[in-house]
Point group: C2
């Protein structure tokens, strides 16, 4: 039996687009002799559909796509994810299901039992968990169908869950496992995914075909990396990352397990590719082509510009240099050099005239008050306004250049440098931005060396350096990582060797700046704990603040 | 037996503050002869604590508060909400529990079984549902302890859930029910809460004591309205809305059920009081005293100003009048008159000089482009910058004045009139803002009549009226209500009698402006479906857009 795995870039709510993509894959798979094709979780509507699932009309559109796929299932089995209405009055209204379609009929449905409700996931908001588990008979083979998380509790080892769906099916002696997933990227996730897939195969001694999504949905990036694991536990194939792919596997070859293919997993290279995917899909799925961003001469805007050019092309990225009286000459020169290196358009709009207009207008009201963060913010906000005006006039989307360290401690101006439709680097700590810059320069200088080597500065007052307000990034980033990704509280951080005053100061900065993150742009998520829907914090809380 | 119900304004993560408040209530209750006192759900840490629950240190702080309450329970039973660690490896790490403390010991714990995971609620993100249900024996009485949602599935009538916790306890023949809640306000919720409380009492024929939170946690407002329902189904007492209260009830009197007291439930009056609570607590819990806001002469900023003055006092609210070349004279006059009516400070900062500076700076870049929404946004953003600068300089929080109709259709400028720390009116449709304005003027003109009577306009280009870009608010608000609150899709809206083109146009506006709401200020929630955590929508989706 030949089995096709389709790793596609779906678009939330784009029913026609998703359907056409799947029908094309069905046709291609048939051309290649496949008897069965496997798509991703909730593929008909894209993932995560969020509260659209509460609209009856949305579910009807899902049903209509299923009908069209059913009509296309002549001589080929189609396994695809879609929501199912819960026929019982009690419980949530929907199931998150894998449909097995064949010759115009539904020959099997398996609902999802393990509903991720943590980090970015809200599945129990919408779905009732499955309580029944059966294999599906297809051309003499018994198929164990499963949806994403359902293979993530191998032998009940995952402390989150109390049942193991595949264990429940084993009495029926399935021949192979199909898993339809929507498993988002973080820089450590592909390795973890392989570990879990192999653990399943080792437990059940049958092959596993795993079909993932690829492409980005706003902040959430799917890396693909769909898997075929042979009964001997070997990864027969790991499909490419960050691109659509359709591959056909011969079950007999998979059973033999003599091939082995995995993708390289370098952290910074993965982040690089993920960010390009994230930018590209944000624009493409919103129907935009052109980006704009402020270029300060610093490393964050430089790295963001390079990523944008890689994602959209140099003709589609415009930089704006907006020096103030506090900007050093080398900042403007570095920004200009970067734009020239990239071959992208740039404009120079000094902020001084606007700054003076605000100063004059506010002078009568600010009488007796000294220069302080207010005036620093005015400069940052003038810059935000200029790039937003250009974005409005030219129809391009403003990219935000904030990094995760700044976003964490609130070192940024709301409505100023925090402006933007998409925050490209805000899930990378400053030290990771340096690593990405080095990666981008590995074949020659794209980002000017001086942008990388000079001490970071917001240049909003004379001689200002980040180090005046913040601990050194090497230390700060470690504390932030332990607090944010690892959820270590103050006691544990002190046990890890960080000074108590420093820990208190950093956690206070993080917690009192929740109000800024509440209004920040969506953040391309590349770590296991990014800002946004994956991290939900009170604003008026008084804890570690 | 005398039973005290404590309806307190907790503060998320303010362990010391919450504890001292509860200890004071315990002491007051004892003075009044109470043998038992009942606090709210998760009272030790405040509600909703969100992802702070993932921090071991946070749970330890909850435990420490419980210990202190236990030490204070000499001769008085204390029922209080706190998280409990799940001792089993499988399942979520915590339970959401009601503790019964007495004479220095825990004499009963009942975990919550029905975990709301919809709208603003994320309880299954953190908590494992209870599976065991037992009454607690206290001074010869059997007490059925329950946590919030656990009484909201009376006889399994709520389609969301499959078990009814109180049904499970009835074999033990309890004498009365205690429910500890954190049940947020919306303008229809108090009536619903009474209906549910009465349904429980009618089913079990024993009295119910229901203790709610009061006060706001950022966007979520608790109205209090704690309840005592007599076995005959009468509401013996509904405690006041929007204020802390401690009341002691004699069980014998409750059993007799001869008294009856309910609070008035006028929609606009409730919203009025809720918004004042929301503003007051946002400032108080963040440690701020002073608000600032732009006054346009229009109804939204006028209503917001009145609410701010009522919440914070006229000495603590500052208005800024920022006319542009397109502002009419009467706008400035209306704004000035409002400020004078309220006795609040106001400043006049015309935007023209800044506008000209931007115009000059951008002219070389905008050559050949006509005046459009860009220049409208520039004016709105200059205003945002001026009020933010004043907010930074004087240390006051900017209030946002957007209404729900505008927020829904994206009729507002990101980083302009969408600036602000808290959106006061953004859960009120424009027609509801008019109703609130009428309510505020019921005893004489506070809001100038002309602010109410003139056609709504953003005044960003000559002669501009909202009606040029939007359907009449009377129609628009109905469509929005049906779509947002009632989740009616396009087909249903058309069936309700709205024109198909209009429906398509409105839904497209709503869905393509999700990116603006993503970056908006927290919205004081007064309806059953506000913008923010309660409504989670994709940004790059292509559905009804």
């Amino acid at each position: 039996m030949k089995i096709a795995v389709a790793q596609l870039n779906y678009h939330i709510g784009n029913f026609e687009g998703n359907l056409q993509k799947m029908l094309k894959s069905v046709s291609d798979a048939k051309d290649q002799g496949a008897e069965l094709i496997v798509f991703g979780e909730l593929a008909v509507c894209g993932y995560p559909p969020r509260d659209f699932l509460e609209f009856e009309d949305f579910i009807e559109r899902c049903d209509a796509s299923l009908q069209s796929l059913m009509a296309a299932s002549t001589d080929i089995g189609i396994v695809v994810g879609a929501p199912t209405r819960n026929p019982k009055k009690e419980g949530k209204d929907l199931f998150n299901s894998a449909y097995f379609l064949y010759n115009g009929e539904v020959i099997g449905i398996q609902h999802k039992a393990l509903l991720p409700t943590y980090d970015i996931f809200d599945e129990y908001r919408y779905f009732e968990p499955a309580t029944e588990f059966h294999t599906v008979m297809f051309k003499g083979k018994k198929v164990a169908l499963s949806v994403c998380e359902d293979i993530w509790n191998v032998g009940n080892e995952n402390p989150l869950y109390t049942i193991c769906p595949l264990d429940e099916m084993m009495a029926e002696k399935p021949d192979f496992i199909l898993n339809i997933s929507a498993s988002p990227f973080d820089y450590a996730h592909a390795a973890e995914r392989i570990r879990v897939a192999q653990a399943n195969v080792q437990r059940y001694q049958i092959p596993l075909f795993y079909a993932n999504h690829v492409g980005a949905q706003t902040d959430i990036i799917f890396d693909g990396g769909s898997l075929v694991v042979a009964p001997n536990g070997k990864v027969l194939d790991e499909m490419p990352y960050f691109q659509e792919a359709l591959k056909v596997y011969d079950l007999a070859e998979v059973m033999a397990g003599e091939k082995h293919q995995e993708q390289a997993k370098d952290k910074i290279a993965l982040i690089h590719d993920a960010l390009i995917t994230g930018i590209r899909d944000y624009f493409q799925k919103l129907g935009f082509k052109n980006a704009i961003l402020g270029l300060s001469g610093g490393i964050d805007s430089a790295v963001t510009a390079v990523m944008a050019v890689k994602a959209l092309g140099a003709d589609h990225v415009r930089g704006v240099l907006m020096p103030s009286q506090f900007s050093s000459d080398h900042s403007v020169n570095d920004a200009r050099k970067l734009a020239q290196n990239l071959g992208m358009q740039y404009d120079l709009v000094p902020v001084q005239p606007m700054y003076e207009a605000y100063e004059a207008a506010l002078k009568p009201h600010f009488w007796g008050y000294a220069f302080n963060v207010t005036e620093e913010n005015i400069q940052a906000r003038i810059r935000g306004m200029i790039v937003m005006a250009m974005s409005n006039k030219f129809g391009n989307i403003l990219l935000n250049t904030t990094n995760k360290s700044e976003m964490a401690v609130g070192y940024g101006t709301l409505y100023g440098d925090l402006c933007g439709g998409l925050a490209v680097l805000a899930d990378l700590y400053k030290t990771e931005v340096y690593a990405l810059a080095a990666y981008l320069n590995k074949d020659g200088e794209v980002i000017p060396h001086s942008s990388i080597e000079k001490p970071p500065s917001a240049e909003l007052r004379p001689g200002q350096k980040d180090a005046d307000s913040l601990p050194p990034y090497e230390i700060l980033d470690q504390i932030l990582f332990q607090y944010i990704e690892r959820r270590q509280g103050p006691k544990n951080l002190i046990e890890l060797g960080f000074a108590p005053e420093l820990v208190a100061r950093v956690l206070k900065m993080v917690n009192t700046n929740e109000f800024k993150r509440e209004q920040a742009a969506p953040v391309l998520r590349v770590s296991s704990k990014g800002f946004g829907m994956g991290r939900r914090m009170p604003i008026v809380g008084k804890y570690l603040s």
